[in-house]
Amino acid sequence: MEWTPIWLSLKLAAITTFILLIIGIPIAYWLSRRSSWVKVIFEAILTMPLVLPPSVLGFYLLLTFSPNSPIGKWLLDYFNLSLVFSFEGLVVASVVYSFPFMISPVKSALAHLPASLAEASYTMGKSKLETFYRVLLPNIKSSLLTATVLTFAHTLGEFGVVLMIGGKLEGVTKVASIAIYDAVDNNQYGQAHQYSLVLFAITFAIVILVFVFNRNSSGGPLE
């Protein structure tokens, strides 16, 4: 069995999760503060990938980043960067696609923290940033873990978007889910079984991990 697609999936999931941790947590924090209609719309847009068919996202990403479009051409001309049929493109697509999985658990956990927690910290002279990192975040550790793990697992399971903008390039965009599809297409059922089994094992272990870690909290795995 070729391990490259599995490795590629893990790499894509790791990078996506890493990027989403950096940009997702501040956004989740911002969204968890007093709500306004701007935030409602913003959050709705970020949550859309959860319900929108991946083909819709893939289709418009393809059009946007195609070298025939102004944006795609600009990226190519000035940065020599192509976001279609490239690994970088998959990262961008996965970040968009997995956004709600990072945002929603973190936001809901932050919103449920008692306001007195932050206030106590402020009265002791801590800055907003310090309060956030040393008081708020440690208090939502289990939600952070859930968000991280779900983002990772969800990216591993990505298929539709990758199929639209990836193009099955060996070692570049042919991630495990696509390799299974390709193996079935080419009559290599043995290989399809192997990839499926490995993916099953990884995702199963991940989900078990979340359940074990969160077994004492009453919420479901998505909270």
């Binding site: 890493f18 070298p67 060996e170």
Partner: protein, 250 residues
């Protein structure tokens, strides 16, 4: 936890493997098997690696026109190759590398020898053809069914597959009773597979002339390697392999 996540993220970013330069060939689904055989032979002769990406001709041509980094395109017909060339994505005009042959087949024991009578009278099971808009073999199947005035009668039982490989999957797994596909499928099966097939009368559909083009992307890197594979496609050795797998060559 964060520090650990961040450092593992950075490590992951740093160890992105660099892939060796290969000739990337986008191949119509019907020919993916034979082109892999060609790739093996080509590697033996030149030491160069060929990566095969397969899909329906229509899908591959759309990908190419949206910037897919392929070096060659082996279509299942001339039209898709021509559209790629006409829109300025190819260096060479479409050239026929092989002529395909359409078969009717079954792994569920349908009477394919008398398939015209069989599909007109038996109502059991579905019939798979490639999507005529994307897969030239699907188009040929549609032409043939129309030629024998069978299309209307069986239209409700037709299943349109995304590419010819999907037709093959449907047939081999027995989810359809009958499928129209490429003759070359037969040569990639092992003897244990239950499979009956019959050639579809070639006069009932337009000849399936399969065109290849060398793409603009081939110029970016290792042009000479890409050109070498393009030339190899039309060599006597390659033609012999094509013929071995059920194609005709000029």
């Amino acid at each position: 936890m964060f520090r650990r996540l961040i450092s593992s993220g950075i490590i992951t970013l740093m160890v992105m493997p660099a892939f060796a330069q290969t000739v990337r060939v986008a191949v119509a689904a019907n020919a993916q098997y034979v082109v892999k055989k060609l790739a093996t032979d080509f590697k033996k002769k030149t030491g160069l690696t060929v990566e095969v990406i397969s899909g329906s001709s229509g899908k591959l041509s759309a990908q190419i026109q949206n910037g897919a980094p392929y070096d060659l395109f082996l279509s299942a017909d001339m039209d898709f190759a021509q559209s790629v060339y006409g829109n300025g994505f190819a260096l060479t005009k479409p050239k026929t590398y092989a002529y395909g042959s359409l078969i009717v087949c079954s792994s569920t024991g349908a009477d394919v020898k008398n398939w015209k009578k069989y599909i007109a009278t038996s109502t059991s099971g579905k019939i798979a053809i490639g999507n005529p808009k994307l897969a030239p073999y699907g188009k040929a199947a549609e032409e043939s069914l129309n030629h024998f005035a069978l299309y209307k009668a069986i239209a409700s039982r037709l299943v349109f597959a995304e590419s010819i490989s999907q037709v093959n999957t449907y047939v081999l797994k027995g989810v359809v009773n009958i499928g129209f596909t490429t003759e070359s499928l037969f040569y990639e099966l092992d003897a244990s597979q239950k499979f009956v097939w019959e050639k579809v009368d070639p006069s009932s559909y337009e000849p399936i002339a399969q065109g290849a083009v060398l793409l603009k992307h081939a110029k970016n890197k290792n042009y000479s390697n890409n050109k070498k594979f393009y030339d190899y496609l039309f060599s006597a050795d390659a033609k012999a392999i094509f013929r071995k797998f059920g194609y005709k060559t000029a």
